[in-house]
């Protein structure tokens, strides 16, 4: 699956904004991302497995609020960083 990463995360991906990752759920996919790019997951998911306040995750066009969200072949995941003040 294609994962599109916001600019604050590209220090983990050697500046790549689009990467590939796999998983049957969003949780699985995030673990695969962290396997490939160590440290990335904790910057967007906290220690209670909650999405951090100024991070939004979309599966295709739909914002998801739980890591249990199922994924299907061909889905496109967007990791968006927004609204963090001055």
């Amino acid at each position: 699956m294609i994962v599109r990463l916001a600019t604050p995360l590209r220090s983990y991906t050697a500046t790549r904004g689009v990467v590939d990752a796999e998983g049957a759920t969003l949780a699985d996919l995030l673990h695969d991302l962290d396997r490939q790019f160590p440290g990335l997951r904790f910057r967007i998911i906290d220690e209670q497995d909650r999405i951090r306040p100024h991070v939004k995750l979309f599966v295709n066009q739909d914002q998801v609020h739980t890591l249990a969200a199922p994924l299907a072949t061909g889905d496109e995941i967007h990791v968006v960083c927004a609204l963090s003040g001055g």
């Binding site: 604050p8 904790f42 910057r43 967007i44 906290d46 220690e47 209670q48 963090s84």
Partner: protein, 384 residues
């Protein structure tokens, strides 16, 4: 503990709201050169040099979007490696009465005891204590504090912390005994452990708590900064939300030495710094703690105050500082001393200026202007 004066170059490690900087000075502390920004745009609450190994620097960082982490440099802040396991609270188990806590930011970093190479401590917001035994690469919670049955009572709720989050700070290790630790919490108070963090006792007797009615309780206070003298570890100084204090151990009572400050200046501030070789000498930067608590230089006239008799008397040191219309704040990590003779003093302001004195506060000059809001200034005297 080595009490010899240093004579080499001095570097300042500067943490700001928008990244870190290194300001390198020569041995005379006359010429200074500012680095390019490090992690521009990252919120750097603390950047600390490890004098034990002469090289490691740890930095606490997060961004407006991304969660908190710790980074490590062993090449003079040129390259950085992120912790493989940053400080994080334990995941709550299903059915836990209390929701799982989340580290919002790492606020304070402190090298461990001189005999415990590679050990560091981190204090977080909300208040949590973490320890690394591998030079900052991985961090574990100090369960004796983080899981203590009184922890929630000590730390209070959302209304008991500072507006930008309750904080653990001033993690002090007794140079005689690595098991003997002090911590400060805003809010919560000063606490002590004699078993490396396994058990904790409040240490707030004698300290005022003007923001609560009735007699001062055992905990819930707001220490802004606590310092232990390295050559006389039984002497502690504290700049509190409610005054300046000194404590002599093993007695456990704070004495308000801020009562000896000029009444029109008061004894409210954030940092307190001790002389590296003279336990009777300490410096503070008073701020306006009247009415709505502007927390700016009183009257717009910034000054450092020094005591040379353990708080019996204080003297104003403002030569070179703005004489008027300067409304900055010096935060609790943003003042430091070097080990030269005479001692060099440094502070950073919320207005992005670094001020320095090479004669123990008698004269000041501005080294750098126009930085982002400065959160922390630490001295590194053998930075590669």
């Amino acid at each position: 503990m080595n009490d010899a004066a240093a004579a080499g170059p001095v570097a300042l490690l500067i943490g700001t709201k928008k990244g870190a900087f290194v300001l390198r000075g020569d041995a005379r502390r006359a010429r200074w050169e500012l680095s390019d920004p490090i992690l521009l745009g990252h919120i750097v609450h603390h950047i600390v040099y490890d004098a034990r190994d002469g090289g490691t620097v740890l930095m606490a960082a997060r961004t407006g979007h991304l969660g908190p982490t710790v980074l490590r440099s062993v090449d003079g802040c040129r390259t950085w490696e992120e912790a493989a396991r940053p400080p994080a609270f334990a995941k709550a188990a299903a059915g836990d009465a209390e929701p799982g806590r989340v580290v919002e930011h790492v606020f304070w970093l402190a090298p461990g005891h001189a005999r415990e190479a590679g050990v560091w401590y981190a204090g977080t917001s909300p208040q949590g204590l973490f320890r690394s035994e591998d030079d900052g690469r991985t961090w574990q919670g100090v369960r004796g504090f983080n899981d203590h049955p009184m922890r929630a009572a000590w730390c209070g709720g959302g209304q008991d912390g500072t507006p930008d989050g309750p904080k653990m700070h001033s993690i002090l290790v007794d140079p005689r005994d690595p098991r003997h630790l002090y911590i400060g919490m805003s809010g919560g108070g000063v606490f002590e452990s004699v078993d490396r963090g396994g058990e904790w006792q409040p240490l707030n007797q004698g300290c005022a708590m003007d923001f609560a009615p009735g007699p001062a309780p055992e905990f819930g206070h707001d220490p802004h900064c606590v310092a232990l003298h390295p050559l006389r570890p039984d002497r502690l100084y504290q700049q509190n939300h409610c005054g300046i204090y000194r404590m002599e151990r093993p007695e456990g009572r704070w004495v308000r030495i801020g009562d000896n400050m000029p009444r029109d200046v008061g004894d409210i501030g954030f940092p307190i710094v001790v002389h590296p070789r003279d336990p009777d000498v300490a410096w503070v930067v008073p701020m306006d703690g009247t009415d709505v608590w502007p927390r700016t230089s009183p009257g717009g006239r910034p000054a450092v105050y020094v005591t040379r008799d353990a708080g019996a008397t204080w003297r104003r040191q403002d030569a070179g500082l703005p004489a008027e219309k300067a409304w900055f704040t010096v935060l609790r990590q943003a003042m430091a001393a070097d080990h030269h003779a005479p001692v060099g003093l440094y502070f950073g302001t919320t207005a992005g200026e670094i001020w320095a004195s090479d004669d123990e506060g008698e004269h000041w000059r501005c080294l750098v202007r126009h930085l982002p809001q400065i959160y922390a200034v630490e001295v590194a005297e053998a930075l590669r």
